[in-house]
């Protein structure tokens, strides 16, 4: 273990802002992307289901 304390780890020898700014934004972007694809799937399922329901309804009436 190369860090003497949690504070040292956090400070990153003075470069803390840059290092954690990098890792943080990377993690954030990945998390947001995961949320995005999940939402896209929910939207896709919703759209498909709605259209299929509309189709079968119109078949009933015709």
């Amino acid at each position: 273990m190369i860090w003497n304390s949690l504070n040292d780890f956090w400070a990153m020898g003075g470069y803390g802002l840059y290092v954690w700014g990098s890792f943080g934004v990377t993690a954030l972007c990945m998390a947001l992307e995961m949320v995005w694809v999940k939402n896209a799937r929910a939207q896709a399922l919703s759209q498909v289901a709605t259209e299929l329901a509309a189709e079968s309804n119109s078949k009933e009436w015709s």
Partner: protein, 258 residues
């Protein structure tokens, strides 16, 4: 073997395969990132010249690599799609583009955060960063073009041509920027230091690179499933999918209550 490949070229067959595969890639991505970050943040020593700030390479370099790899893979799918006229190729290209763009952005962002403490400026017109910026523009252009065209087949093919033209141009762009850069600066600045990197640092970087790759594959496979659902929504097999039927039940239940 070839028949197997053509079997999966149909969206109907690829959909369940992607569904089974993406969790595996997600697990690999998580495990490898854990290992890579462990090596990079807790084992790799302090750099002699750059102090602790160099640790940014553990996300910067993998992001750069992935932004380039994904673009090449997009071009590959584009070539397949234009040659064999397969629908799935266009869908895969569409699934990959946003992830590639995000990695290009991250490469630029982390590059700036590395540059500021090292060279004193948030941005330098280093050949690699500049090429990365242009790659980012190429991604945005691709996403813009495929979003602007309403007809999905035309969007696929147009995007395919653009991806191929872009891929052929990327080496030319890179070398022209390199030329442009070296003629104008005195001391050359390099993102990977001249001194040979400690073994552990290189190892951590490579592992993170593979981790990002696994992540990209997982996300692309997950995303392509949604694209397939929408594109193939008028087919019988989509109508019979359990998740679609479940959604229809949910919708009609909601309707009954309302």
């Amino acid at each position: 073997m070839i028949q197997k490949l053509f079997f999966y070229a149909s969206p109907q067959n690829f959909y369940p395969l992607a569904g089974k595969l993406w969790p595996l890639f997600a697990v690999l991505a998580t495990a490898l990132s854990g290992w890579g970050l462990w090596l990079g943040m807790f084992v790799a020593p302090t750099d002699f010249q750059q102090g602790e700030g160099y640790r940014i390479i553990f996300v910067h370099v993998p992001a750069s690599w992935m932004s380039m790899v994904i673009y090449l893979v997009m071009a590959f799918w584009a070539l397949l799609g234009l040659t064999f006229n397969t629908r799935l190729s266009g869908m895969m290209t569409k699934a990959l583009a946003p992830t590639g763009a995000i990695f290009a952005f991250l490469s630029l962002w982390t590059g700036a955060l590395w540059g500021k403490p090292m060279w004193g400026a948030w941005w330098v017109w280093d050949a690699r960063l500049t090429s990365e910026l242009i790659l980012f523009f190429l991604y945005l252009g691709h996403i813009a073009l495929t979003s602007a065209i309403d007809d999905p087949r035309r969007a696929d093919k147009a995007g395919g041509i653009l991806a191929l033209v872009g891929a052929l141009n990327v080496p030319i762009i890179y070398f022209s920027v390199k030329w442009w850069n070296t003629l104008h600066q005195g001391a050359s600045v390099s993102l990977t230091k001249g001194s040979s990197m400690a073994q552990v640092m290189l190892e951590a970087m490579l592992i993170m690179g593979i981790a990002f790759w696994m992540y990209a594959v997982a996300i692309a496979l997950y995303r392509v499933r949604s694209i397939i659902l929408i594109r193939e929504r008028h087919t019988q097999w989509v109508a019979e999918l359990p998740e679609v039927k479940a959604q229809m039940m949910k919708n009609s239940a909601g309707g009954a209550i309302a």
